[in-house]
């Protein structure tokens, strides 16, 4: 499903060169729920961005479904992200001007679906995260946990096969964090969604099937 080979990511400015990732090799099979752990600045989020096709590696190859994406243009990458990938961010990144329903519909806007169809899919996604009663609310009217559930609904509304979650419980209290983890586990178990989750929380990581550890941009055992 996801294959990273000899990945290196270097950030360069005029004076400084920072190696964020070096010689990372990783495979995640279909339906697998993997967590990525490591101290701050070890390259966890960079790794997730590369898997999510939001950034390109300096060296090495990223394959999604067996296809190397190095030659993909902006439009092809956008289409692949739209179809195959869903994102959950630590700070939710909901659009404050849009209602819950409109936020959840965002990925579907780029699929040229009919309005009614979009709405139906969005309502279904909101029902899965238990927010059917909040569809017309705005993000500012929701608690942190509810906002993250909206973000998860947005991530799964397009029925992607891969879900990438960057510290999804980082901004939530333990109860809300447990709720979010329960939703992710359900998606993994029932939908066979492949999930890669970055976390600091060992307890949350223990709930996943496998843990990948990074230190100073390198994989460690």
């Amino acid at each position: 499903m996801i294959r990273l080979q000899s990945i290196e990511k270097v950030y360069r400015t005029d004076r400084i060169e920072t190696v964020a990732l070096a010689d990372v090799n990783m495979e995640v099979g279909e339906g697998e729920f993997v967590s990525v752990m490591g101290p701050s600045g070890c390259g966890k989020s960079t790794l997730l961005n590369l898997i999510g096709l939001l950034d390109a590696p300096t060296r090495g190859t990223v394959q999604i479904n067996g296809t190397p994406i190095a030659t993909y243009r902006d439009r092809d990458l956008a289409a692949l992200r739209n179809k195959e990938l869903g994102f959950v961010f630590q700070t939710f990144h909901l659009v404050s001007d849009l209602s819950v329903l409109d936020n959840v519909q965002i990925p579907l806007l780029y699929r040229h679906m009919a309005n009614s169809e979009r709405r139906r899919w969005a309502l279904a996604a909101l029902e899965r995260v238990g927010l059917s009663a909040r569809v017309h609310h705005f993000p500012s009217q929701l608690s942190g946990g509810q906002q993250q559930r909206v973000a998860i609904a947005r991530a799964i509304v397009g029925r992607p096969r891969i879900l990438l979650a960057d510290e999804p419980t980082g901004n939530l209290d333990s109860q809300m964090g447990d709720d979010v983890m329960a939703i992710l586990n359900t998606l993994s178990r029932e939908d066979k969604t492949t999930i890669v989750m970055v976390t600091h929380d060992q307890q949350k990581a223990d709930q996943t099937q496998r843990i990948v550890r990074l230190f100073d941009g390198r994989q460690v055992n």
């Binding site: 961005n49 939001l54 992200r81 179809k83 994102f87 990144h93 849009l98 965002i106 780029y110």
Partner: protein, 414 residues
């Protein structure tokens, strides 16, 4: 998707009230000035009664006489036109008339000021006034220096109320005139026909005007056809070489020109010593002014749009992450800008209607009824849309090209 963009645009504009206000003010004010100036320009230069045959009419309104150490500029004198402008080839009618001067009258001890213009009888043949009563004075009236007058409807009301005026006597500057005709009011912005009272020039208190090269007279020629216009201009120019100039002057410039050409000559950048048309310079000047006028709000809008879009960098990151191609994002921000521009255009239209109505009822521009030119409005909105696109494309393009990771971090560039 378009509906989503419009909805989002409306919400964004509503939420960021200050930016929205500044943007709308810039667009609507620019459009307002453009529309009002154009309405005034239309009202001054478009063919309309009494200047219905403007395409065949030429006038001399500005005369420059100069020498090595002297430079005189004013209207022409009677002698100049009477001696050199008569019998020009291609001219069907030639009229000599003065500018408007204030004339005072007293009604029941109250002082009334009117604009008085002295003309010949040809004046009424070239210009097509709308006579409400009577008719113009004729050749015999002018030749015989008869004290007759044509007045406009406002003057009739001031002197005679609602009663008919024909045969009545009005007094102006101590002279008594018998009213022979009443015409509809003519706007102050139409300088050739405009006045409150018209009388034969031969009723002047002295004959001194008859010997003047420079003075208070204008010449107005109605050409037989369009082909004659250049002929009239060229022939009068060549005749000016024969004018006996006063000591110290070596040249005289007094071109027969259209109204627009005459106004163009008044600009500081015009070459008043050249008999050739100054419209080219006039157009360049106006275009430069318009470009400058349009450039300021455009630059302002670009800055505002960059700030406005910068606030939404995270949204750009989210949309990119979920599959929005760069081009789609550019379109989204352009839709917002175009919507803003259209709202600004609507406000500009409403403001224009209010300002034009206020100008019409205020009497600042005497007897002027400005009208809004729909063609100009359409052009105005198109210009505003162009503003919207120009001011929106660059910020939208810049933001849409942001790396999604940077955008999600809040726009930090690497």
């Amino acid at each position: 998707m378009f509906k989503h963009y419009v909805l989002l645009a409306a919400k964004v504009l509503q939420r960021r009230k200050f930016f929205t206000f500044i943007s709308l003010f810039g667009i609507s004010f620019t459009l307002l000035v453009l529309m009002v100036v154009t309405a005034m320009f239309d009202h001054s230069f478009a063919p309309m009664a009494p200047e219905s045959r403007q395409d065949l009419t030429l006038g001399v309104h500005d005369v420059v006489m100069y020498g090595p150490h002297s430079n005189w500029r004013s209207s022409g004198g009677y002698k100049l036109f009477n001696t050199y402008a008569r019998n020009l080839p291609g001219v069907e009618h030639l009229s000599l008339y003065t500018g408007v001067r204030a004339a005072h009258s007293y009604i029941d001890g109250q002082k009334i000021e009117s604009g008085l213009k002295k003309t010949d009888d040809e004046f009424w043949r070239i210009l097509e006034f709308n006579f409400l009563e009577g008719g113009p004075y004729g050749t015999d009236d002018v030749a015989g220096a008869r004290f007759v007058a044509v007045i406009n409807q406002t003057t009739r009301r001031r002197f005679f109320g609602e009663r008919p005026a024909i045969g009545q006597i009005i007094e102006a500057d101590g002279q008594r005139f018998r009213v022979v005709g009443v015409v509809a009011d003519v706007s102050e912005m139409r300088q050739v026909p405009f006045a409150d009272i018209w009388v034969p020039y031969t009723t002047a208190k002295t004959d001194a005007y008859k010997s003047e090269i420079l003075g208070d007279f204008h010449a107005l020629a109605l050409a037989r056809d369009r082909a004659s216009l250049k002929q009239i201009h060229d022939e009068f120019n060549s005749r000016l070489l024969r004018v006996e100039l006063p000591k110290g002057s070596t040249n005289i410039v007094a071109p027969f020109e259209t109204s627009l050409q005459s106004v163009a000559r008044l600009l500081p950048i015009a070459d008043s010593k050249s008999p050739e048309s100054q419209v080219g310079r006039f157009v360049a000047f106006v275009a430069a002014l318009a470009a400058l006028f349009a450039l300021l709000p455009t630059v302002n809008l670009v800055n505002i749009n960059i700030s406005r879009i910068m606030e939404r960098v995270s949204e750009i990151g989210v949309r990119k992450a979920f599959g929005a191609p760069t081009r789609t994002l550019i379109v989204q921000f352009l839709v917002e800008n175009v919507l803003l521009t259209l709202v600004g255009g609507g406000i500009g239209l409403a403001l224009t209607m209010v300002v034009i109505h206020a100008l019409n009822v205020s009497g600042i521009l005497q007897y002027t009824q400005l009208t809004m030119n729909i063609r100009v409005f359409v052009y105005g909105v198109l210009i505003a849309l162009l503003f919207g696109l120009i001011s929106g494309v660059y910020p939208a393009w810049r933001m849409a090209r942001l790396n999604p990771v940077d955008a999600l971090k809040g726009g930090v560039s690497r």
